[in-house]
Subunit: 395 residues, 2 copies
Amino acid sequence: MADIEAPFRVRQEGRGRLGLLRTAHGIVETPAFLPVGTQGSVKGLLPAEVRAAGAAMLLANTYHLWLRPGAERVAELGGLHRFMAWDGPILTDSGGFQVFSLADRSRVDDDGVTFRSHLDGSLRRLDPATAVAVQEALGSDVAMVLDQCVPYPCARDEAEAAVRRTVRWAEICRGAHRRGDQLLFAIVQGGVHADLRARCTDALVALGFPGYALGSLSVGEPLAEMRRVLEATVPLLPQDRPRYLMGVGSPDYLLEAVWSGIDLFDCVLPTRVARNGTALVLPAGLVASETGAAGTDLPEGRTGRLVVRNASYAADARPVDPTCGCPCCRDFTRAYLRHLFRSGEMLGPRLLSCHNLHTLHRFVAAIRASIASGELAAFREAFWQRAEPWAPSNR
Amino acid sequence: MADIEAPFRVRQEGRGRLGLLRTAHGIVETPAFLPVGTQGSVKGLLPAEVRAAGAAMLLANTYHLWLRPGAERVAELGGLHRFMAWDGPILTDSGGFQVFSLADRSRVDDDGVTFRSHLDGSLRRLDPATAVAVQEALGSDVAMVLDQCVPYPCARDEAEAAVRRTVRWAEICRGAHRRGDQLLFAIVQGGVHADLRARCTDALVALGFPGYALGSLSVGEPLAEMRRVLEATVPLLPQDRPRYLMGVGSPDYLLEAVWSGIDLFDCVLPTRVARNGTALVLPAGLVASETGAAGTDLPEGRTGRLVVRNASYAADARPVDPTCGCPCCRDFTRAYLRHLFRSGEMLGPRLLSCHNLHTLHRFVAAIRASIASGELAAFREAFWQRAEPWAPSNR
């Protein structure tokens, strides 16, 4: 870590905290949400659009890029930033999550995971040293250790075995890591078992990392369960290191996690639901209007989403969200969006992806502002008065 | 036509001519290529991007918009320009071409066409008055008469029957047409039979229209055959009216048609082949570099296209066309484009669509410049020394 001194600085702390994450490609204000560029592209959007939507940092999936086009190929082409033409910070995951969820017949042992590629069936091996080497070749600003993910629900002994491996692998990753311009974050496992989370946290903190993530949350557990795990775990993490909750991106889970002291988030939710025709709409009056329009109407109740295919929008000349200043809401109507989705036109997914990223970043910016002014508690209360929960999101 | 006086002005004429087409939404320099916004969207692109790629005018398909979302719905939402947020000129076709090519079990009679919608199988009727009414509701700047399209090859008696109907329908359309802010163009039919083309032209010119199109070309006939039909037909058209060759968009056919005196073109080719992973690349040295780069390399010979999936581009760090200044070539490599297409990422089709429109408009702008400087013959010769023909394009 020689090249990046004190990569994180906490500027304000209480329920929710403000921080600055310094990387080789720039500084990120936290709390921050990272859109997902799964295969080296935030689906359908140009880097400039992702930035204009408010993103300061992206996540890219090591598993996908490792299998195609290959990490050495990306390195040869000047690294991931140049490859995808994104000059801001990038975080890569370890590949473990996709190996467990996407690959065929993955088999974990104490030293790593053997699996077959979902692309061509070829036999592959992911171990801690490989996860580090691949991420070093990609050249991300933040790399993640290889961890063993567990589902929800998960039996205690399975969660315990995963903690043991995760700690061991974290140590191997740390030993293998060479790049001075890349931060290596550890990942806390332990399912929903508070004592296992604590044990894992203590072991990882003893090893010492510049940042810590929480894995295997937002994998189907109720919000209250996630909240309970966070409240038991986050206080054990060092105050001066960034905390990253992997796979969270719905406004409700995100806000609750900030409340518990989380700094970083990533999720495919905003772009995935966009491609499906669902627009994120912030509860009326929660966040200042960008257009001067009085307020968001939420014709489907207080759910925070607008399904553009609905017949009720067939002649609706309003933008998706009248208070939103994004390119989708600036120029296009709900009726047009509905038409695009019914017609299978790819401009539909593109426009809603842009809107959803803009909206989620607008939400996170409002959270940051409320922390800065000491009003996060009021913001949170206002949110829960107006919003209804999303289903748990997934990566 | 009361509102649009002298909608076309020829500025220079010889082999190839320069003109200005005045519409209710602005003036178009000709020769001009119109990208196709089939269902009210140039697939994957924002209006501002289509304009930045060089387009002054679009084509939209009446058949598609009539069936979904419906012409009355579009009218109710403020017309097609507002619906799709394109404030430049729009030309709509009559719907006939799609009825013959897309609809199930279309049956033509002397008064119109009965068919089943390809969307829901519902029974529909398109006749000349309906074609006009639908286009008036859409509010395009240029509407087309309903014509009977014929395939290639086509027996003489079938082509002759189509001419008879086309002339009759053109007269009915003219009688039904009301909008003063919309031009109504006639369409010359007659297959590849020069005498039928001449007969059709004479009859339509006698009726009098502000513009004339040639239909049922670029439907599979060899370039020489199209050239022969143009040479026999175009001289019979009035010099002071725009001439529109429907469905042409490959550089070779387009250049030959300009040489024969055509002013307007439309085609899905640049965007359709883009979605398939094929980039249009102009022959080396034909058109001035936009980047300062020495010249285009055409690694697949002189074919004018680059298939980005080819394995030879896996590590190619050059832009698709080093001389091109479009957003795709400015920021991204062939290796990245190849990766996007192999990964099924929608950014790939989007970027190549942008590049192909930019390239075709760059080509048409170079044609205009060569006409202006009296060098079209030299330009054409240089083109044929370097280029090889595209397969016939289609709408």
